[in-house]
C-alpha cells in the first residue's frame, strides 16, 4: 500500500491530530504532576533538615559540644550519600566543623529552611554537588555558636530528571500508539474503500454484474456496500429491462409494419378499383392506430417507471374514480351479456395520479372482460383494511397459471391462450409500473376459476 496514500487517509490524519492533541494534554498533566512532585520533594527535604537540626541541637544540649562535633565530623566523612552538608561555627574559638567550607553570606540562623545560593568554593571536594540554590537551615546554639545543615541538590535533581525522563517516555509511547492506531485504521479503511473503488471501476467499464464483496463484519462499510450493491442491482435491472424493451419493441413493431407495407405494396401491384384502394388505406389506418396505441402505452409505462415522476400528483378520490369507471363498464357488461358488480367503500382517498390510476383499473377491467367470455362475471371491489386500501378486480375467466404471474408483468408478454384475442401485451406492465409508482403492492390470486388482481395501496 502506498504510504503517501495512507498518510492522506482520513483515519491517519485524525490519528495525527489526536496524537498531537493527546501529547499536549499529557504534557500538561505531567507538568502539573512534576510541579506537585517538586513541592512534595521540597517539603520532604525541608522536614528532613528540620528534624536533623533538632536532633543535633538536642545532642549539643544533652551530651555536650564534643559529642556534637564528633557526630558532625562523622556525618561529614560518611561519603555523604544523603547529600547533607554540615557546618558548626563557633565564633569564640574561631573553629569551623563540617563539610561545608564557609558560612553562606548573610544567611541568618533563624531555624527556618530557605533556599540559599551555595557557591562552589563552599562545597568540599568529595562530592559531585554543584553550586545552586540549596535548601539550608541553621540555628544558633546556646553559647552563640551557629549550626547549619544544608541539602545538596543532586538528589532532588535526580528525582526531577527521573520524572522528566518518565514523562518523555509516556509522551513518546502515547504518540507512537496513536500513530500505530491511525495507520491501522487508515489501512483498514483503505482496504474497504479499495474494494468499493475496484467494483466501481469495473462497473464503469461496463461490467454491471460486479458487486462489492462484504467483509462480513456487519460494520458501516458493509452497510454502505450493501446500499451500493442494491443501487447496482436496480441499475442492472433497469438496464436489462431497457435492453429487453428495445429488443421487444423492435421485434413487435416489425410485424405490423411489415404487414402494412405488404398490404400497400400488393395493392399498388395492379390497377384496382377505387373501393379497393380505400379499403386498403382504411385497414392501414386501423393498423397504425394500433401501433400508436402501443407507443402510447410504452410511453406511459416509461413515464410511470421513471424514478422521479414528473406528472400531476394529487389526492385522488378512489371511490369517485372507481364509481365512474364502474358506470362505464356496467353498460359494457350488459351489452356483452356479462355480469358486472362492484362494491366500493366510500371515502377512499389516496395520493396519486388520477389518469394513470384510471388507466390501470381500466386495463384490469378490460382484461377481465376480454378473458371471461360471454358468461363471465366480473367484480370490482374496493375496501379499506387497517391502513391499506385493497382494490380488487375478479373474474371467472381463463385466469393466469401461478407460474406465469411474474412473467405476464413483462412488456409484450402474451400467454398462448391469449394470442387469439386483440391486445399488445402491455396492459399488465402498465398496471405493475403504476402500482410501483404509487408504492402499492400488486397480487394475483386464483378465483377458482378465473383471476383476482389486487392493488394494495398503503395509506
Amino acid at each position: 500500500m502506498n504510504p503517501r496514500r495512507l498518510l492522506h487517509t482520513t483515519a491517519m490524519r485524525l490519528a495525527l491530530r489526536y496524537a498531537l492533541f493527546y501529547a499536549v494534554l499529557i504534557a500538561m498533566g505531567l507538568g502539573l504532576l512534576y510541579l506537585s512532585t517538586n513541592n512534595y520533594v521540597d517539603a520532604y527535604i525541608a522536614a528532613g533538615l528540620e528534624q536533623e537540626i533538632r536532633q543535633l541541637s538536642k545532642l549539643d544540649q544533652e551530651q555536650g559540644r564534643q559529642q556534637l562535633k564528633a557526630v558532625i565530623k562523622a556525618q561529614s566523612r560518611v561519603n555523604n550519600k544523603s547529600g547533607r552538608y554540615y557546618l558548626l561555627d563557633e565564633p569564640h574559638s574561631l573553629s569551623k566543623t563540617g563539610n561545608l567550607l564557609g558560612w553562606p553570606p548573610q544567611f541568618k540562623a533563624d531555624g527556618k529552611v530557605k533556599n540559599i545560593w551555595i557557591e562552589d568554593n563552599l562545597i568540599s571536594g568529595h562530592n559531585d554537588d554543584q553550586d545552586g540554590y540549596w535548601p539550608v537551615i541553621a540555628v544558633t546554639l546556646t553559647d552563640g555558636s551557629r549550626l547549619l545543615v544544608a541539602q545538596g541538590i543532586r538528589q532532588s535533581e535526580d528525582i526531577q530528571e527521573f520524572i522528566l525522563a518518565t514523562m518523555a517516555a509516556i509522551l513518546a509511547v502515547s504518540v507512537l500508539l496513536a500513530l500505530i492506531m491511525g495507520w491501522r485504521l487508515g489501512r483498514n479503511m483503505l482496504e474497504h474503500v479499495d474494494r468499493i473503488n475496484e467494483t466501481a471501476q469495473k462497473v464503469t467499464v461496463g461490467d454491471f454484474s460486479k458487486r462489492i464483496p462484504l467483509s462480513g463484519q456487519d460494520d458501516e462499510f458493509d452497510e454502505l456496500s450493501n446500499h451500493l450493491n442494491t443501487m447496482l442491482n436496480r441499475i442492472e435491472t433497469l438496464l436489462s429491462g431497457m435492453r429487453q424493451v428495445s429488443d421487444n419493441v423492435a421485434h413487435d413493431l416489425r410485424k405490423p409494419l411489415a404487414r402494412m407495407r405488404n398490404r400497400i405494396e400488393i395493392t399498388l401491384l395492379e390497377n384496382r378499383k377505387g373501393d379497393e384502394y380505400r379499403h386498403a388505406m382504411e385497414e392501414t389506418i386501423h393498423d397504425m392506430d394500433e401501433l400508436m396505441r402501443t407507443f402510447n402505452a410504452l410511453l406511459e409505462i416509461a413515464q410511470a417507471e421513471a424514478g422521479s415522476f414528473r406528472g400531476e400528483w394529487d389526492s385522488v378520490n378512489l371511490t369517485d374514480l372507481l364509481q365512474e369507471l364502474s358506470e362505464l363498464y356496467l353498460d359494457q357488461a350488459e351489452i356483452q351479456q356479462q355480469t358486472f358488480t362492484s362494491s366500493i367503500e366510500p371515502n377512499l382517498i389516496i395520493d396519486g395520479n388520477r389518469h394513470l390510476l384510471a388507466q390501470t383499473i381500466s386495463n384490469l377491467l378490460d382484461n377481465s372482460f376480454k378473458y371471461s367470455k360471454d358468461t363471465g362475471s366480473i367484480h370490482l371491489k374496493a375496501k379499506k383494511i387497517d391502513n391499506l386500501i385493497h382494490v380488487t378486480v375478479c373474474d371467472n375467466g381463463t385466469g393466469i397459471p401461478i407460474e406465469q404471474h411474474e412473467k405476464v408483468l413483462h412488456r409484450f408478454v402474451r400467454l398462448e391462450e391469449a394470442r387469439s384475442t386483440s391486445g399488445n401485451g402491455l396492459g399488465l406492465s402498465l398496471v405493475k409500473a403504476v402500482a410501483d409508482l404509487h408504492k402499492a403492492q400488486l397480487t394475483f390470486d386464483d378465483n377458482h376459476p378465473g383471476l383476482c388482481v389486487s392493488i394494495i395501496f398503503r395509506l
Binding site: 362505464l328 351489452i335 388507466q359
Partner: protein
C-alpha cells in the same frame, strides 16, 4: 374557418394544410416560432394550431405572448411529449386543447371545430334544442317531441356536451376527456356502449334519428345528417 398552423415539420404541415383546405377551411403555415408569433399577432385567425417544440421560439412562449397581449384566439397545442404534466403545463400556459402526436387528422379537425364553438360568444341559454329534442339546463329535463325522457346524471352530461357541439363530430377521446375527465384510452369500446345507451333513450321510436355514428371518427348529434 381561418387556421394558422405553426409547425416546423414541413412535410407534416403540407399534409395538414391540404387536409384543412379539403375540409373547407383556409389555412396558413409558419415554420418557426418567430414567424408564427408575427402572423398570429397581425393576422385575423379563428384558431391557432401550435407545435410545442419550434425553432427560434417555443410554442408555449408564443401562447404566453398572445395571452399577455389580450388575444384570446383559441389555441390547440400539438406535442410529441405525451406526459400528463406536459398537458397540464400546456393548458396552464393558455392553450385551450392539447393533442399528442401521433394523432388522427379527424381527431384534430373535430377538436378544432369544438374550439371554434368555444371561441364564439356563448349566449346564456336555459334551453338547448335540436329538432324536437330539448334539454332544459336548469331543471335538467329532457324531452323528445314533448315526451319526457329519463336520463342518468352521466347520460345527461353526455347529451349536454353533444348538444353544445351539435352539428360537429366529436371523437371518443374528446368525450372521455370532457364528460368523464379521463385522459386514457380504454381498449374495449366503453364509449360506444354509453352512446348506444343514450341513443336508445333519445332516438327510440323517433322517426328521425339525431345521434349518428361517424365511422372511424366519432359521433355527431345533428338533425340534418
Amino acid at each position: 374557418m381561418h387556421i394558422l398552423l405553426i409547425e416546423d415539420d414541413t412535410d407534416a404541415a403540407t399534409y395538414l394544410i391540404k387536409g384543412f383546405t379539403e375540409s373547407g377551411h383556409v389555412a396558413d403555415h409558419a415554420a418557426d416560432g418567430e414567424t408564427g408569433l408575427h402572423l398570429a399577432l397581425t393576422g385575423n385567425y379563428d384558431v391557432l394550431v401550435i407545435d410545442r417544440m419550434l425553432p427560434k421560439r417555443d410554442g408555449l412562449s408564443i401562447i404566453r405572448m398572445l395571452r399577455a397581449d389580450d388575444r384570446f384566439t383559441p389555441v390547440l397545442i400539438l406535442s410529441a411529449l405525451g406526459e400528463v404534466d406536459d398537458r397540464v403545463e400546456g393548458l396552464r400556459a393558455g392553450g385551450d386543447d392539447y393533442l399528442v402526436k401521433p394523432y388522427a387528422f379527424t381527431e384534430l379537425l373535430a377538436r378544432l371545430d369544438a374550439l371554434l364553438r368555444r371561441g364564439q360568444p356563448v349566449h346564456i341559454q336555459n334551453r338547448l334544442k335540436i329538432a324536437d329534442l330539448e334539454l332544459d339546463l336548469l331543471t335538467h329535463k329532457v324531452t323528445r317531441a314533448g315526451k319526457l325522457i329519463r336520463l342518468q346524471p352521466r347520460e345527461l352530461r353526455l347529451l349536454e356536451f353533444l348538444m353544445h357541439h351539435s352539428g360537429q363530430v366529436v371523437t371518443r377521446t374528446m368525450l372521455l376527456e370532457q364528460v368523464w375527465d379521463f385522459h386514457f384510452d380504454p381498449q374495449t369500446n366503453v364509449i360506444d356502449t354509453q352512446i348506444s345507451r343514450l341513443r336508445s333513450k333519445i332516438d327510440k321510436g323517433a322517426e328521425k334519428p339525431l345521434l349518428h355514428t361517424i365511422r372511424g371518427v366519432g359521433y355527431k348529434l345533428d338533425e340534418s345528417a
